[in-house]
């Protein structure tokens, strides 16, 4: 094969998945070198691949394409490679091939979803993602993580099956396997929509995320935060742009999790809730569906992956060096971890969309798109959510980890590779905030949007700073909800608690039914049936014969004697053949005469 074609068009998904298989066999300096080279190669490959469908083949009479490239898939491909690179640097100090392999297969699955040219390869990569990501939770190797991983994979199997059912109906209806725009009408589209919505964590289907991500390994959470939800964002943007339902789901998605985030004690769970909130902005943008909104969604996904990875790295570093992650256990860490604190603050400023940080140049596009379409309620909700994000992710996360009350914990900064990964992430967050034009240049539609206008900057600063004032006053007055060791019920209650009750009640009811059935059918009925089968024939015969013997004036003794003989013969099945034949003959004659 032509070498140029191989480099230009090699599906990055296969590069990662095949590459992952080699990782356990490498040692020494080869291993980090190889692992860091993979995302760079994949990035180059994506950049060099011309638009269009490549790597097509036929299977079962359907046209499948492993690599279909356009502007939309390219942006997601780039950012998936970048975050894999950062995540791997962050993870380099761990000695656990399971996590590296799972991360690469998972990232490969996400890239596969991005570049899938047909619905079947999409589904396969979708499931690869679900399975590989589960190992990043399992690899924490605690009881809580095992249980969370089990719930996680069950939810994703449900979502995957919805997607598969939708795909099969779709192929059946249209006869085509092509992956493209869809209208939300008909069973197939609703099932596909539902399958994507599970992965996008749209409420009330969201609790798998806040349940599982905080239980993942330190590095695992960084990868998890990037791929599953954002590949769902990509797919929604590919298939359902302009679907009005998404505007309202997205608006709800931005608000519901922030209340939980305010109450939550586990820092990584706060970040998980804020992740759902951020994906809500993207869903809203996809629902609005204008060029500005889609550009906003894609750029926000790009920036979000970076700052969310950065925040999970910072929280992961704290977990790694202190062994603790609850607000109630932490505080005052800035004293000995100033660099981690600084990087966390950059991530916090970015997610809060502070001017000069990456969130500002992307989120504002979505909110402006809502304003241009005169979606008053949506606009107000998104602004409320923006203030709320700053409140919990922007202030709460760094405040309770690094400032707040002094927990007395004195630990060193995390290992150098972790600091480098965070430093690079923080640098890119600031770079994109200050100079967003390289990002704007790769968006699906031409960008005319200017983020830095006076009105915009001042408006956003007022929104954030006066939100911070509210935080400040509430903390000082003691009205702020105290951090406490508790959990907050979410919609996973339905499958965690209700299913347990369902199990125990069905256990009680069904086992009781079982016991009754056993007594009635096995012990009593079967016994009686057996006795009847044993004695029935003799009794029947005696009922017929007794009147005859009475007519024949046999003595009682004689009757008893013959009865017991007949009973014994029939019981033992020892009736002479001649008599049996005569009986059968008589029966047949009777049947013939009376038929």
């Amino acid at each position: 094969m032509d070498l140029a074609l191989l480099i230009n068009g090699f599906p990055p998904a296969l590069l990662f998945i095949v590459g992952a298989l080699f990782i356990p066999f490498l040692g020494g300096k080869m291993k980090p070198g190889f692992m860091l080279a993979l995302p760079v190669l994949a990035l180059v490959s994506i950049a060099c691949t011309p638009d269009g469908s490549h790597w097509g083949f036929q299977a079962l009479g359907y046209d499948l394409f492993l690599s279909k490239v356009d502007a939309l898939s390219r942006v997601f491909g780039y950012i998936f490679c970048i975050v894999t690179f950062l995540g791997i640097i962050f993870a380099l100090n761990i000695d656990d091939d399971l996590q590296f392999c799972a991360a690469y297969v998972y990232a490969g699955g996400a890239l596969g979803v991005c570049f899938a040219g047909d619905v079947f390869s999409l589904y396969i990569f979708w499931e690869i993602m679900a399975v590989a990501s589960t190992f990043l939770i399992l690899a924490r190797r605690t009881r809580a993580s095992q249980a969370a991983a089990m719930r996680y994979i069950l939810v994703h199997i449900f979502g995957g099956l919805c997607l598969l059912a939708g795909i099969l109906f779709y192929v059946q209806r249209t006869g085509s396997t092509s992956l493209g725009l869809m209208q939300l009408s008909g069973l197939d589209s609703y099932l596909i929509f539902l399958g994507i919505a599970v992965n996008a964590a749209i409420p009330p289907l969201h609790p798998w995320l806040s349940d599982a991500y905080p239980e993942a390994t330190v590095a695992g959470a960084v990868f998890l935060s990037a791929f599953t939800t954002k590949s769902a964002v990509y797919l929604m943007a590919r298939m359902f742009p302009g679907t009005e339902l998404l505007i309202w789901l997205g608006a709800g998605m931005t608000t519901i999790p922030i209340f939980y985030a305010v109450l939550e004690n586990d820092i990584r769970r706060v970040l998980a809730y804020s992740l759902i909130n951020q994906v809500g902005f993207m869903m809203c943008g996809i629902g609005i569906g204008t060029a500005l909104a889609i550009n906003g969604t894609v750029s926000h996904a790009f920036c979000h992956i970076l700052y969310k990875a950065l925040l999970f790295m910072a929280a992961g570093s704290v977990l790694q060096v202190t062994g603790k992650i609850r607000c109630t256990d932490l505080g005052g860490l800035y004293k000995t971890m100033p660099l981690t604190c600084l990087f966390c603050l950059v991530g916090a400023a970015s997610i809060s969309a502070f001017p000069l940080f990456s969130g500002f140049v992307s989120k504002s596009m979505i909110i402006s798109a809502a304003a241009y379409d005169k979606l008053i309620i949506v606009w107000l909700v998104l602004q409320f959510a923006s203030a709320g994000v700053f409140h919990h992710a922007g202030i709460k996360v760094p405040f309770f980890m690094f400032f707040g009350h002094d927990s007395g914990i004195r630990v060193k900064e995390p290992p150098l590779n972790m600091l480098i990964a965070m430093g690079l992430g923080a640098f890119v967050c600031v770079l994109l905030g200050v100079y967003p034009y390289p990002l704007y240049a790769i968006l699906p539609y031409p960008v005319e949007y200017v983020p830095y206008t006076g009105a915009h900057v001042v408006g956003q600063l007022q929104l954030l700073m006066f939100g911070a004032l509210a935080f400040c006053l509430l903390i000082l007055s003691g009205y702020y909800p105290a951090e406490m060791r508790a959990i907050n019920l979410d919609t996973d209650w339905f499958y965690r608690s209700l299913s347990r009750r369902l199990y125990s009640s069905s256990d009680t009811i069904l086992n009781r039914v079982n016991r009754v059935c056993e007594r009635v059918f096995i012990q009593e009925f079967t016994g009686k049936l057996a006795t009847w089968a044993e004695n029935g024939a003799a009794r029947l015969l005696l009922i017929l014969m007794l009147p005859l013997w009475t007519l024949m004036r046999l003595s009682e003794d004689r009757k008893t004697q013959i009865s017991s003989r007949i009973s014994t013969l029939l019981k033992e099945g020892a009736v002479p053949i001649g008599i049996s034949l005569a009986g059968v003959g008589l029966l047949l004659c009777g049947l013939y005469l009376f038929h």
């Binding site: 109450l263 304003a371 008053i376 400032f403 001042v458 979410d490």
Partner: protein, 80 residues
């Protein structure tokens, strides 16, 4: 171990930080009327709208969250 940072251990520094913060709030309100605005909605152009909205949002957020806590809070071992 390296020397630790103790900048926020001194109440004076915390107060300085807070004054700086309040000062920036005042500055944001003062320059607001001089900014050229053309918001999609009329109220966006009202000076201090975003400040009020941000403040109220956060208070409402906390208020609702506290109510929510009464309803959804459970012991850490609730699920066993």
């Amino acid at each position: 171990m390296k020397k630790e940072l103790t900048v926020f251990d001194k109440p004076k520094n915390v107060n300085r930080f807070l004054y700086l913060f309040y000062l920036s709030l005042v500055a944001l309100l003062l320059i607001d009327p001089f900014i050229h605005k053309h918001g999609a909605f009329g109220w966006e152009d009202v000076p201090g709208f975003f400040a009020a909205y941000g403040f109220v949002s956060c208070v409402v957020l906390i208020f609702i969250a506290k109510l929510l806590r009464l309803w959804v809070r459970r012991d850490e071992n609730y699920y066993g």
